[in-house]
Amino acid sequence: MQNLITGFIMLALTICLYIVYLRKNKSKLNKILRKGTNNLTKNSIRIFAIFLIIGILQNFLTKESVGGFLLKFSGIKGIFAGIAVGSIMMGPIATGYPICSYLLQNGATISLISSFLAAWVMIGFISISLEFRYFGWKFTVVRNIFALISIIVISLLMEAII
């Protein structure tokens, strides 16, 4: 539902931009539309492939299997296990919260839950290939390594504060 609302707002905004701009520059219409259609095909193929791989992964990564695996770890090892599993997990984070509540009920540490959630939203193991192709290797490597370090710091801070 929220995606639909955001989509509508973005679409309305885009159409307004097109109308305002093209009133003055009619000759460019074709060129812009061709570029847009090109983008749509290209992006759709890439994004659909990612959705497909998320769909395949979700079949194997159930709440119990992920939770059960993570519960074997705690402390620093827990943080790293959280990062490893969290970066593979993709899709809406809402599906991550039930896993967290399962973890909490079974006595997982705060740092493990933090690192798992943070890695889920901050590192996309699968989308890295896309990031690399759009922004280059340097951007991708630096950003993701920094994210990795930040997740460790965030998890330690969370453990200390809460």
Binding site: N3, G7, L11, I53, F139, R143, F146
Partner: protein, 162 residues
């Protein structure tokens, strides 16, 4: 043909994996396909707007305009705009990569884009749900730390892409 292969290498690998999966477990693949299609249609309006918005940006917007607002030289202001934008936007980040790419091509700073991607990890729309499961203290501090990480991430990328 070679060009197509180079451009869509990752997607082709995913396709091959999916075909292999048919032989092992076709129910799981059909579930995955169903998931991918649902996600795609769910986000279609956003995907459509992103494609035509990036087409518009790359063909119609003068470079100095983007550079002035989101350029690297705009310093903290640009990063703050990125952080706020990223915090409140919803949908998967990688759907927006094409848009970010066209902004970078028009002079937006990579630091601003890194902050935007970083702040995207704050999932505003799921916060009420997260509080119900993890408690407000956890959610508040966790998201505050992610916001700080996003801003720091912009500076790290800024330094590395000098």
């Amino acid at each position: 043909m070679k060009k197509i292969f180079e451009e869509y290498m990752v997607e082709i690998i995913i396709l091959v994996l999916a075909i292999i999966l048919i032989f092992f477990n076709s129910t799981k693949l059909s579930l995955a396909l169903k998931y991918a299609l649902t996600m795609y249609f769910n986000l279609f309006l956003i995907i459509l707007s992103v494609a035509f918005l990036s087409g518009f940006i790359s063909e119609a917007i003068p470079p100095n305009l983007i550079a002035k607002i989101l350029g690297k030289e705009n310093g903290f202001k640009g990063i703050l705009i990125g952080a706020i934008f990223g915090t409140f936007m919803i949908g998967p980040t990688y759907v927006f990569y094409a848009l970010f790419k066209s902004l970078i091509d028009k002079g937006a700073g990579k630091n601003v884009i890194a902050t935007t991607i970083g702040a995207w990890a704050i999932k505003v729309q799921w916060i009420p749900f997260a509080i119900a499961i993890l408690g407000w203290k956890f959610v508040f501090i966790f998201n505050l730390l992610i916001f700080l990480y996003a801003i720091a991430s912009g500076y790290v990328i800024g330094l590395s892409t000098k």
